[in-house]
Amino acid sequence: AQSVAQPEDQVNVAEGNPLTVKCTYSVSGNPYLFWYVQYPNRGLQFLLKYITGDNLVKGSYGFEAEFNKSQTSFHLKKPSALVSDSALYFCAVRDITNAGKSTFGDGTTLTVKP
């Protein structure tokens, strides 16, 4: 079985400050890990993914995430938050043996205040 946890329902940061949105996962084999973002009244968009290789992956809009196998985490980060980053963020995990089905976290609402 595979699962993913986003321990924070809400994250609030000031514009210009660094942001972190947390994600931990559980899979029986090697994971594929993804971050998606959902802006208000819009569909989900892909941000970045970890498949293999470098533990630090870079994605759209200046976001990056670090894969930590020992801590089974894949936290999303950005050095300097923008008000326009305010959105709902989903972490997703897929076991490489699980026929293409991803499990999504409950989501974290990021609010960046000016």
Partner: protein, 115 residues
């Protein structure tokens, strides 16, 4: 990448009726999925739409309630049958262009309200 359109974008339906949601992709894709999402909440996978065969349903979802068609590699439909207010939700079509370690693309969603 893939661009996905869904019809209708929203609808208000009466209890006991059925609604069919269409999902059209601008390119051939391997995997197509249907999700349900309450506004601001997580996604729940309903089923995987298989081209040329019956859809694969997740626990808690059955074909009689959510019949799915996928006649080709660019199109799928989801029907919500005999609707009740509990079916009010956002229904999302999603695709994976090539099965494997690939990200999913999502349609804009269909917002369904059942009275």
């Amino acid at each position: 990448s893939a661009v996905i359109s869904q019809k209708p974008s929203r609808d208000i339906c009466q209890r006991g009726t059925s609604l069919t949601i269409q999902c059209q992709v601008d390119s051939q894709v391997t995997m197509m999925f249907w999700y349900r999402q309450q506004p601001g909440q997580s996604l729940t996978l309903i089923a995987t739409a298989n081209q040329g065969s019956e859809a694969t349903y997740e626990s808690g979802f059955v074909i009689d309630k959510f019949p799915i068609s996928r006649p080709n590699l660019t199109f799928s439909t989801l029907t919500v049958s005999n609707m009740s207010p509990e079916d009010s939700s956002i229904y999302l079509c999603s695709v994976e262009v090539v099965a494997g370690a690939n990200e999913q693309f999502f349609g804009p969603g269909t917002r369904l309200t059942v009275l």
